[in-house]
């Protein structure tokens, strides 16, 4: 029966295709913006010690688990949380409902990510047309960004219409690739986008390396010292627990763990396709983009043009400021700035789109697998829902809707989802069966000491992150501490939207169960 179900599902065209798709999903804006900021502000080179430990103890094992669960679920005709959790728990009644958050998380991120992706497309064009060429200082560049976002009307923009047009185009491109399907859409996109990102990233790296000391009166502000600003280790920082937490969080975000995308992608593997080497290859590709390219562009460039104090304040200003305020100012002062600026924003756009299509895939897979909708039906319904919510985010951006959506969908839910996956895999599915699944068709045998890591260390890491973030950010966010009362309505509306989508997903799971879409426990054994 499992074989029969599998025949109805699409399969990846090639092993490299799925690896590039998963790597494309993982390589996002955070690789080029979040990682350097995190490293520079958490001990520089010393940050890499907890970073690599988290990669080994949390990133690699969870990725193996997600790939394996996806392939296992795919064999039974399920590619997302509800169906996969149902089959790995032997048909426990409650398990499928836990999976609803594994679809809600990525969808919630898509609701705002698509808009940000549109910004990168706009700025790529602005770089060539010289739109921000005359803006000379951070205050005015921030004003340019605010005007572009529609947060304020100013001399640069009168409303968010340019950003809206870019969003609309980006939205259509995303759904075009999703509509084309796994092989003809996502795989083809990533086979072109990933190598292109590699080439553009290396071109940018070479350009930054060959700038020398761009300010004639500041000979010490050169590339080597810029790297030093980013990489000189401050081992005293390792005594601070927040540095370890930041490193674990970075690994978590960069590998797209707990997003559900990896599981959905892996469900389109064949029954005996390798998961262990493929997963590790996708992870190492992501690390190449993050540490080697991401770690060598923005912070060293900021140091070269603004000095140590300026780079420090840039690092504290957050990722959006770095990308849309600092980098344009740098391009304005650089020889060949318009072209290099365009390359930078195209790189971000490609990183964004390969991630955003993967954020939509779990919902599409769910609707196809559990409700037996055609792709056309799934794309139309999801398109309408996403369009409505994206519009809400766009027009309430200034009132904090994007930050609220990002906190729940982009910060808390992925950790929660990963914890559920690992707990079910290690404690209910069982590691004997789990390692048998790892080894099935494997091109790389998973060392047996990972059994202990997956059973105890990884869940421990995840619980620590979840508790710490909830204490540090969750309580202030829940109680709206420090939020302007004028924004409360929008914040609550954002929460209601998320709750509404979650309720709808649960109702759809109930509908699927009533239609007998979840295989009965007896048939599983």
């Amino acid at each position: 029966m499992a074989q029969k179900v599998q025949l109805e599902r699409e399969n990846w065209g090639s092993k490299l295709g799925v690896i590039l798709a998963v790597a494309g999903s993982a390589v996002g804006l955070g690789n080029f913006l979040r990682f350097p900021v995190q490293a520079a502000s958490h001990g520089g080179g010393a940050f890499m010690i907890p970073y690599f430990l988290a990669f080994l103890l949390m990133g690699i094992p969870i990725a193996w688990v997600e790939w394996t669960l996806g392939r296992y679920g795919g064999r039974h005709g399920h590619g997302t949380g509800p169906g996969v959790y149902h089959v790995i728990t032997g048909g426990k009644r409650w398990a499928k409902y836990l999976g609803a958050t594994a679809i809600l998380g990525p969808l919630g991120i898509f609701f705002y990510y698509c808009y940000v992706e549109g910004w990168t497309l706009s700025y790529a064009i602005f770089s060539l047309t010289g739109e921000y060429r005359q803006v000379a200082d951070p205050a005015h560049m921030s004003s340019f960004l605010s005007g572009f976002q529609g947060v304020e009307n100013n001399q640069y923009f009168n409303g968010p219409w340019v950003a809206y047009a870019a969003f609309a185009l980006t939205f259509v491109i995303n759904f075009y690739f999703i509509y084309r399907g796994v092989v003809h859409g996502i795989e083809r996109l990533n086979k072109v986008a990933l190598p292109l990102m590699g080439i553009i990233g290396l071109m940018l790296l070479v350009r930054i390396m060959t700038l020398g000391a761009p300010l004639a009166n500041q000979p010490d502000q050169n590339f080597t010292n810029g790297l030093g600003f980013m990489w000189n280790p401050d081992f005293a920082a390792l005594k601070d627990a927040s540095v370890w937490l930041a490193a674990a969080g970075q690994i978590f975000f960069t590998l797209s763990i707990g997003m559900g995308s990896m599981m959905a992608y892996a469900s389109y593997l064949r029954a005996k396709d390798d998961v262990t080497l493929s997963s590790l290859t996708a992870n190492s590709t992501n690390e190449f983009f993050e540490v080697i390219i991401g770690g060598s562009i923005v912070i060293p460039a900021s140091f070269m043009f603004f000095g140590a104090v300026g780079a420090q304040s840039v690092a504290q200003g957050g990722s959006f400021n770095l990308s849309f305020v600092t980098m344009p100012l740098i391009f304005n002062q650089m020889g060949g700035g318009p072209f290099i600026g365009c390359l930078w924003f195209v790189l971000l756009f490609l990183a964004g789109i390969t991630s955003s299509v993967s954020l939509l895939q779990p919902a599409i897979t769910f609707l196809e697998d559990e409700l037996k909708w055609t792709r056309q039906q799934a794309v139309v319904v999801l398109g309408i829902l996403s369009f409505l919510v994206c519009n809400f985010i766009i027009f309430t951006l200034a009132k904090g809707s994007m930050d609220e959506m990002d906190f729940w969908a982009g910060t808390m839910l992925p950790v929660w989802n990963a914890l559920i996956e690992v707990a079910l895999f290690a404690w209910i599915f069982g590691l004997v069966k789990g390692f048998r699944e790892f080894d099935l068709g494997s091109d790389l045998r998973v060392p047996r000491f990972f059994s202990f890591i997956i059973r105890f260390v990884t869940p421990g890491f995840l619980i620590a992150i979840l508790v710490a973030w909830f204490m540090q950010q969750g309580i202030p966010v829940l109680t709206l501490r420090g939020v302007n009362p004028a924004n409360h309505l929008v914040i609550w509306a954002t929460r209601l939207i998320l709750l509404g989508v979650l309720t709808t997903l649960i109702l759809l799971i109930i509908t699927a169960r009533r239609r007998g879409r979840f295989i009965k426990p007896e048939e599983l054994r």
């Binding site: 092993k15 490299l16 690896i19 520089g44 080179g45 010393a46 890499m48 690599f52 080597t224 010292n225 790297l227 030093g228 990489w231 000189n232 280790p233 396709d273 390798d274 080497l277 493929s278 590790l280 290859t281 190492s284 590709t285 690390e287 190449f288 540490v291 080697i292 770690g295 091109d443 790389l444």
Partner: protein
């Protein structure tokens, strides 16, 4: 950049480059996956 910085960057880049090369070399040196052993070939039983 101080000596610690150079050591960190060389080690970090080294680990990632070696891991990436290892993975891709191993990936491309695998046998073709669409080849089936004789017992796995499906035959018409009708």
């Amino acid at each position: 950049m101080n000596l610690g910085g150079w050591i960190t960057i060389v080690l970090s880049w080294g680990i990632i480059i070696i891991l990436t090369i290892f993975c891709y070399v191993r990936l491309f040196s695998q046998k073709r996956l669409d080849m089936k052993a004789p017992l796995e070939i499906e035959t018409d039983k009708s």
